[in-house]
């Protein structure tokens, strides 16, 4: 057994690190490391830089323009990106719809969309959830009825992350109401500019506009935008949900935020000493750091096992639960670290170009919003309760 990265992998890490140090714009790094608001352009600017380097889609095979990296290389890339203060790749195009298109899409769909996704020219969003279909996705009701060369789509999607920026949405739609719910679902690509689509913001408790409702009122979608076979959408949906493995635990983000926590705790003074040296607080940080170490090794074990058998297993649920718990715990400690100064909720001060008066320590500006926003981690992408059900069923056979 060897728990070290190989020499090649370490060289690769150095390469990525150097690239990020020299190419990530300072203003973006500043926002990411301080937890300030990122806009559409911040994501796109970074995607364009990565694309120019040939790293626009770390998880794609070379045949589609990816760098052809191993799972471990992708993992290292994610980790270094996060640690270096790069924005997360917006997953909906690159990591969600793209693999589905590669596996099940027509050559026309692949040619039409993949290069644009890679180049950061097409922003995608995910239209799975509906008001009545959250954890129970198979109960989606949005209807698509064929009419000549088109489907006519009616219904409502919700929680659509960053849908306000998107040119395209991939949707689960019901094409057969007579069969078992899982059997009558299709996977449809819909141009957001189509007549009949309305996007309405949902404001979350941190005051952000990150999610949306999307309404479809007699929207005409060419049948050629159907992915794969009609009524096989559930298979593709499950493929997609089980696909993203290297980054699900968020180890890199965890490390970056842990470093931030230590930085803040070193600057805060308690009983005349840095809070970082306070025994109770130090123990709380230590616990998180230890949990993160264990998760990192677990994550690498899962990647190694998958590389061998080439299919993702239910272990991703372990990574998701533990990774989100750790990230949430860090935001809690950040709030504790600055005490009441974490309470001001000032979206104005988090926004681009704010030059008004600061309140409290510099690092405190985004802490309240960060803690509130991170509550979502245990809810979306299959809630942590659902992940535990998966562990019970798939790992324990209960």
């Amino acid at each position: 057994m060897d728990l070290n990265f190989s020499n090649d992998e370490q060289a690769f890490r150095q390469l990525v690190r150097n690239f990020i140090v020299h190419n990530l714009p300072d203003d973006i790094r500043h926002k990411v490391t301080r937890g300030l608001s990122l806009g559409r352009d911040d994501y796109l600017r970074w995607q364009h830089i990565l694309h120019a380097q040939g790293w626009g889609a770390p998880s794609w095979p070379a045949a589609f323009g990816g760098p052809g990296w191993s799972a471990t290389q992708q993992y290292i890339f994610d980790e270094e990106s996060a640690a270096g203060g790069a924005p997360r790749a917006v997953p909906f195009g690159l990591k969600m719809v793209a693999p589905v298109l590669m596996q099940f899409g027509s050559p026309e769909q692949q040619q039409r969309h993949l290069p644009k996704i890679l180049a950061g020219e097409e922003w995608w969003c995910q239209g799975y959830s509906e008001p009545g279909a959250g954890s129970d996705l198979a109960s989606v009701k949005t209807r698509a009825i064929q009419d000549g060369d088109d489907y006519i789509v009616n219904g409502q999607k919700t929680w659509t992350t960053l849908g306000q920026y998107a040119q395209w949405i991939f949707c689960l739609v019901r094409t057969d109401t007579e069969v078992k719910p899982q059997r009558g679902i299709s996977f449809l690509l819909i141009d957001m500019a189509s007549p009949g689509i309305t996007v309405r913001p949902i404001i979350t408790m941190d005051g952000a506009h990150e999610v949306n409702e999307v309404w479809f009122d007699n929207v005409r979608v060419p049948v050629s935008n159907l992915v794969g076979t009609e009524n096989q959408g559930w298979t593709y949906a499950k493929f997609l949900l089980g696909h993203e493995r290297t980054n699900i635990a968020g180890i890199g983000i965890g490390k970056r935020e842990l470093a931030r926590l230590k930085r803040v705790a070193a600057q805060q003074i308690k009983h005349g000493k840095p809070l970082l040296q306070d025994p109770l607080f130090a123990a709380r940080i230590a616990q998180i750091e230890i949990d993160l170490m264990a998760l990192e090794i677990t994550n690498l074990r899962v990647l190694a096992a998958e590389a061998e058998r080439r299919t993702p297993g239910p272990e991703a649920s372990i990574l998701k639960i533990k990774g989100t718990e750790i990230q949430q715990a860090i935001t809690e400690l950040l709030v504790q670290a600055v005490g009441p100064y974490a309470l001001p909720l000032r979206r104005d001060a988090m926004a681009e170009g704010y030059d008004g008066e600061q309140v409290g320590p510099d690092d405190a500006t985004a802490l309240a919003a960060g803690y509130l926003n991170m509550r979502k981690l245990s809810i979306y992408g299959g809630s942590n309760e659902i992940q535990k059900n998966i562990i019970a069923q798939m790992i324990l056979g209960l």
């Binding site: 979350t204 003074i269 309470l343 001001p344 309140v359 809810i379």
Partner: protein, 369 residues
């Protein structure tokens, strides 16, 4: 032992609840800009709630901390934004306890009828909100004082007319000064905290006040005020915890996934059962805090209040987070009251000493049996 409230107390709770239920529902609350509604404040005055902490000798109701507990519970249930705690509990108690006959006559009637809002300005940056640390200075001059310093996170300063500023006199004695917000040299930088409450950084630069602004020998009174406030905020938390539990259970009864209501999933049932445990432990400690917050035995008082704050802080965290979690996506929206309860609980966790601070304080007084 007696855990009942007497008739007048039950009536106090019911009238407060009834008023808030009717005139302060969530929709109305959401329309209150900058955290203050003059109509609601007048309503509180009309109900006598602003007179609760005013001694009978000063024409008030001379209420006990248990009365405060009941009102604060109702305030929590309705998520009241107005400075009831800051002005009607904290400032009023402080003035009643420290004021000369003249000062009381000048201020208490106006606090009681709602025409005056006063808030304490005590905390300072860099102290981690240790109540014994003050750097603001008061320098005597002919017929008055000059104040210099900075107070932070002063809740409701922007709605108040009078700030009760703590400061050190030249001999390091703590005093409080009644400083009208409009005094030259007072500058506020205002913002909102997560719970929707307006707060301010208050900068005092060569602020001149007259001698009758002085409330001398304030150390004990400030500590008493803090202890009453801590007990009050525990009661407020209990009001919120109950509402969040009820909202979550009712959501779990209605929300269907996989063809059944989610309340049928045992994992969620047990989670809600744990919420019940936290709520009941918190309620018990809110009673203890109310009864002990004026205790003459200071060690016993401190231990009880710290223990209460720990139990309640932990309940705030668990019940708040689970309420959001069990509401799924709906839980994180601004549109449901759930997230607003959650945010108030987050603030309460940090007010008057965090869970960890009180855990340490409690641990520091442990003795071998």
């Amino acid at each position: 032992m007696d855990f009942t409230f007497h008739d007048e107390q039950n009536m106090l709770l019911e009238t407060t609840r009834r008023y808030l239920g009717k005139d302060y529902d969530f929709a109305k609350r959401q329309q209150i800009i900058d955290g203050f509604s003059a109509t609601a404040w007048q309503g509180f005055a009309d109900l006598g709630l602003l007179a609760l902490q005013v001694p009978e000798a000063d024409d008030g109701l001379g209420g006990t901390p248990v009365d405060t507990l009941l009102v604060m519970t109702a305030m929590g249930e309705a998520l009241v934004l107005e400075p009831y705690l800051a002005s009607a509990v904290m400032a009023t108690t402080l003035i009643a306890q420290l004021g000369t006959a003249q000062q009381r006559a000048a201020l208490l009637p106006a606090l009681l009828d709602g025409s005056l809002i006063a808030v304490p300005a005590h905390d300072e940056a860099g102290t981690r909100f240790d109540w014994t640390q003050i750097a603001t200075r008061a320098t005597p001059m002919a017929d008055g004082f000059v104040l210099n310093g900075q107070k932070c996170l002063v809740a409701h300063a922007s709605s108040a007319q009078l700030l009760l500023v703590s400061a050190l006199l030249p001999d390091d004695r703590i005093a409080v000064f009644g400083v009208p917000c409009t005094t030259a040299g007072v500058r506020l930088v205002s913002y909102q905290t997560v719970d929707g409450v307006p707060a301010s950084e208050v900068y005092l630069d060569q602020v001149v006040v007259t001698s009758d602004a002085l409330f001398d020998h304030a150390g004990t009174a400030l500590a008493d005020m803090r202890d009453r406030a801590l007990a009050a905020v525990c009661a407020e938390a209990v009001g919120i915890l109950d509402k969040l539990l009820a909202a979550t259970v009712s959501y779990a009864r209605d929300r269907q996934q996989f063809g059944v209501v989610i309340g049928k999933f045992q994992a969620l049932q047990h989670r809600m059962a744990d919420m019940v445990l936290h709520c009941e432990q918190a309620r018990s400690m809110s009673f203890l805090a109310a009864v002990r917050c004026t205790d003459a035995d200071l060690a016993q008082r401190a231990a009880a209040l710290s223990a209460a704050k720990v139990v309640i802080g932990q309940a705030c965290r668990f019940v708040g987070q689970q309420a959001v979690q069990l509401h799924g996506g709906m839980g994180v929206t601004d549109e449901l009251i759930v997230s607003h309860y959650f945010k108030r609980l987050m603030a309460i966790e940090l007010q008057f000493g965090s869970t960890d601070q009180h855990l340490e304080a409690f641990a520091a007084q442990l003795k071998a049996a």
